[in-house]
């Protein structure tokens, strides 16, 4: 549903709140790499935080949360496909092996 149709619009307060969260998560990202006890889960942890920041910018600053779902499809579809291809490419070139050779 487009913003005009839903009537919902982000406010300046929303933008500032998102900026605050982005700052905090970035601080956390940098912080956790120095915590040795988190080493076993550091990669999924960092990827999750990065994905959260990515989603926040896309949803609120790029207005996907408020805009037409067609636009979400046009962006998220290729994003998922590109991510899948990237994982496949890394697997096939041996960067990490999801399955044995």
């Amino acid at each position: 549903m487009s913003a005009e149709h839903s009537g919902e619009q982000p406010t300046v307060g929303t933008y500032l709140l998102v900026a605050l969260v982005l700052t905090l998560v970035t601080g956390l990202e940098v912080g956790v790499i120095y915590v040795r006890r988190l080493a076993p889960i550091i990669v999924p942890l960092l990827v999750a935080m990065s994905a959260a920041k990515f989603a926040l910018v896309a949803l609120f600053y790029m207005h996907l949360r408020y805009d037409s779902r067609v636009l979400t499809f046009l962006f998220v579809g290729p994003l998922i496909l590109a991510s899948g291809l990237a994982v496949a490419l890394m697997t096939l070139t041996g960067a990490f092996l999801v399955f044995g050779r």
Partner: protein, 811 residues
């Protein structure tokens, strides 16, 4: 054509339309933005390149006609098959398809033009520039000679030290820009410019196949673009992307090429499937059998097309698991393809068939493509594929797909839409002669090649011995190739006769089913006097014979004749698309000769882009560009572009990660990165996004002072980010870490450098908007321009979020 009940008359006299004031002068063609003229330009140019590629093919076949022949040398033979493949794929089949996209798609959806007419012209001129660059290599005596898929490391400076590969790189990069630009244009056109009532499922199958193909182009070209950038940097700047001694993996090129290359097969064939899906129902006088399933099948073929690329690499030793996965995926893709074949047959079954030339070619496609499809399924089995790899069996297969499929479909389309495009009927007698010569010649040329491959003749050898048992089949193949050439000559004569003294074509010569037959032949500049009502799939047929269905939910027809807009607006001709392409041509020539020309060409291109962007900045008709989705064309286009960019940066990041830890010399990432400094630059870029949305909010409420403040702030923060990057790069270089140092340096500098280039483009864009605002030329009506710049800026931001984590933070 006479006005129909419920239709509305033209609200603006044609004489007032800028496009109609142009005459058939050279200047009018050079500056045209009319989708029909651009379609004709694509067609004429494609035919010229098709002849060139055909001559190259004939020379190949002459050389192979008899054993130990000496028509050409081995080196020339290498160049011939490289140029033939590259020309036919990128300069003939693709632009022939683009001819139909341009001329027919807007008519089929009841539109007056494409969403971005000047961008459309730009796509054509850039395509022409790419074609000229590739073929200029023949004039300089350095044609590419590494095969159309240019496997690494044959393309390295060590093995190909001349300009041959450089011509190939620049030409393909330029052609890629043209294709992606055009793809975005047509996606927006089809999604947003349909006539009221033309719901997605009412669209003709050709339009659907066009839509699928445009997505394939937009998403498949970025990986090959990245692969070519790597190759260019290896050759020009000494990086190591394809340098095994530095730890690189040559399979990377194969993957990047075929991630593009397999979807490219569908880019070439799906338009032909769409054409056949229009031709068969018209000449069988029956609706297309199972049209929704045909649409879903096309979409599935496009989707699966991204998951089968490694079947081109079974011989590369990927291992049994990968081989099995890609083998299964390849077999799966045969299902939707088979659905199409059977639905075409069912469409013909019981029809009142008129055996026109167009129908001949369409039925020819059904039969010949089936043969090519079946040999394709054979390749999906790795053990079988290993026997056929690099043999003439593969040559036979790909020609059954690309000639038996694509080219027969293109000829079906040419004969079908010729009256609409030219306003003249084309000879049926010569047309059938054209078909039979091509049908017989083609099968004589390529069927024996299955046999040649099966008995062991490798592809890409320039001669063979008489005692190898390949002589008869090769001779037959050469005779067949000349049969195809004769067929093309007959077509050229037929086309010439039609243009010179063909009978005038009525609006609806075939008793057609779709909207293009509702307007005159050729159509007027504005396509339709009134936006046509849509009564369902095969709308024009329903309009003539019923049953008419009501408008699609939420749509409108005669009550809302022009999509809510009063009158007809057609953009004026523009010379800037031509001049931008000229600038890109100069850049390419500079890349091959002297860096000064690169600088001159780049500056000229930038200047021309700015002029194009500002050409209609204050034209009131351009302020509002909303389509049937209720969205602005420019916004939809930007999102499609960002989707395409996901593939670009996804490929770059995947390469960085794939090569991580493979450098044979240091330094390693943890020895060189300064995380606190990069964290600061990351924070800076994140905050620039905040300023960007504040700028958008300000312009939407007509607060120009704050618009200027936040726009400048965003650009300033972008400049600070670039400053951080310059500091980081300088520091690294001083410590001996360069892109030539090791594989890590190559991947790191190129990934972050290309991201920095994106930031720099964003800064330039934002400062341009800021200057417009300072001069009082950026009002609330221009909020969409700030919004689009913002989308680009935020995307650059989210890409950095990914880079920061995946490149800098993950150990």
């Amino acid at each position: 054509m006479s006005a129909r009940p419920g239709s509305h008359v033209l609200q603006v006299p044609p004489a007032a339309l800028p496009r109609l004031t142009t005459t058939a002068t050279l200047a009018s063609w050079l500056t045209t933005v009319d989708h029909k003229r651009i379609g004709i330009l694509y067609g004429a140019t494609a035919f010229a390149f098709f002849l060139l590629g055909g001559i190259e093919a004939l020379l190949i076949r002459l050389q192979l006609a008899v054993p130990e022949n000496t028509v050409v040398s081995a080196h020339t033979y290498n160049a011939l098959f490289t140029m033939h493949g590259t020309t036919m794929i990128f300069l003939a089949i693709m632009p022939f398809n683009a001819m139909f996209f341009n001329f027919v798609v807007p008519l089929l959806i009841g539109a007056r033009d494409v969403a971005f007419p000047r961008l459309n012209a730009l796509s054509y001129w850039i395509f022409l520039a790419g074609g000229l660059v590739l073929n200029a290599s023949l004039l300089t005596g350095t044609p590419p000679d590494v095969g159309w898929f240019g496997y690494a490391n044959l393309t390295s400076l060590h093995y190909s030290p001349g300009l041959n590969v450089d011509f190939w790189i620049f030409a393909l990069q330029i052609l890629g820009v043209s294709s992606v630009m055009s793809a975005i244009n047509f996606i927006v056109t089809i999604l947003n410019l349909r006539a009221p009532g033309m719901s997605m499922m009412r669209m003709p199958v050709f339009v659907w196949m066009t839509l699928v193909v445009q997505f394939l182009i937009a998403l498949a070209f970025p990986p090959i673009t990245v692969g070519l950038i790597f190759l260019m940097f290896d050759r020009f700047f000494g990086t190591h992307f394809y340098d095994v001694a530095a730890g690189a993996d040559l399979h990377l090129w194969q993957h990047l090429f075929w991630i593009f290359g397999h979807p490219e097969v569908y880019i070439l064939i799906l338009p032909a499937f769409g054409i056949v899906s229009e031709v068969l129902p018209t000449f069988a006088r029956k609706p297309l059998f199972g049209a929704p399933v045909m649409i879903y099948s096309g979409v599935l073929i496009g989707f699966f097309g991204f998951g089968v690329w490694s079947h081109h690499m079974f011989a590369a030793g990927m291992g049994p698991v990968a081989d099995s996965a890609f083998s299964i995926a390849t077999m799966l893709i045969a299902i939707p393809t088979g659905v199409k074949i059977f639905n075409w047959l069912a469409t013909l079954w019981g029809g009142s068939i008129r055996t026109t030339t167009a129908l001949h070619f369409a039925v020819g496609l059904v039969g010949l493509f089936t043969i090519g499809g079946l040999s394709g399924i054979m390749h999906s089995s790795p053990p079988v594929d290993l026997q056929q790899t690099d043999s003439y069996f593969v040559v036979a297969h790909l020609h059954y797909v690309l000639i038996g499929g694509s080219l027969f479909g293109i000829f079906a389309g040419i004969y079908y839409w010729w009256p609409k495009m030219t306003g003249r009927m084309i000879g049926e007698g010569l047309g059938r002669l054209n078909f039979w010569l091509m049908f017989v010649g083609f099968n004589l040329a390529f069927f024996p090649q299955h046999y040649l491959g099966a008995i062991g003749m490798p592809r890409r050898i320039y001669t063979y011995r008489a005692d190898q048992g390949w002589t008869v089949a090769n001779f037959a193949s050469t005779i067949g190739a000349f049969g195809i050439a004769l067929a093309v000559l007959v077509f050229a004569i037929n086309a010439w006769r039609s243009l010179r003294r063909g009978d005038p074509a009525p609006a609806d010569p075939w008793d057609g089913r779709t909207l293009e037959w509702r307007t005159s032949s050729p159509p007027p500049a504005h396509d339709f006097d009134v936006v046509p009502p849509v009564y369902g799939r095969d709308s024009f047929w329903r309009e003539k014979y019923g049953p008419r269905r009501g408008p699609a939910p939420g749509g409108a027809t005669a009550e809302h004749p022009d999509g809510g807009h009063a009158g007809i607006h057609l953009p004026a001709p523009s010379h800037w698309p031509l001049l931008i392409a000229l600038g890109m041509l100069i850049v390419a020539v500079g890349g091959l000769t002297h860096v000064a020309l690169v600088v001159v060409g780049a500056l000229w291109t930038l200047y021309a882009i700015v002029r194009l962007a500002l050409e209609h900045h204050r034209t009131p008709e351009h302020a509002e560009q909303r389509g049937v989705l209720g969205l602005d064309h420019r916004k939809v286009a930007m999102w499609v572009f960002l989707g395409s960019e996901c593939f670009f940066f996804g490929t770059m990041i995947a390469t960085f990660l794939a090569y991580k830890g493979r450098s044979v010399v240091g330094p390693a990432p943890h020895e060189i990165f300064n995380i606190p400094v990069t964290s600061l630059s990351t924070f800076d870029l994140l905050m620039s996004s905040l300023l960007m949305v504040l700028a958008l909010a300000a312009i939407q409420r007509s607060d120009h002072r704050h618009t200027r403040l936040w726009l400048f702030g965003t650009a300033f923060f972008g400049l600070i980010f670039l400053g951080f990057q310059a500091f980081e790069f300088t520091d690294f270089v001083h410590r001996g870490f360069t892109m030539q140092r090791n594989l890590f340096g190559s991947t790191f500098f190129l990934l972050t450098g290309l991201h920095g280039t994106h930031v720099a483009i964003g800064v330039f864009w934002l400062l341009s908007l800021w200057v417009l605002s300072l001069r009082g030329r950026l009002g609330a009506v221009d909020a969409i321009k700030v919004e689009i710049a913002g989308l680009y800026w935020h995307f650059v931001d989210v890409v950095w979020i990914a880079i920061f984590t995946l490149v800098y933070l993950i150990p």
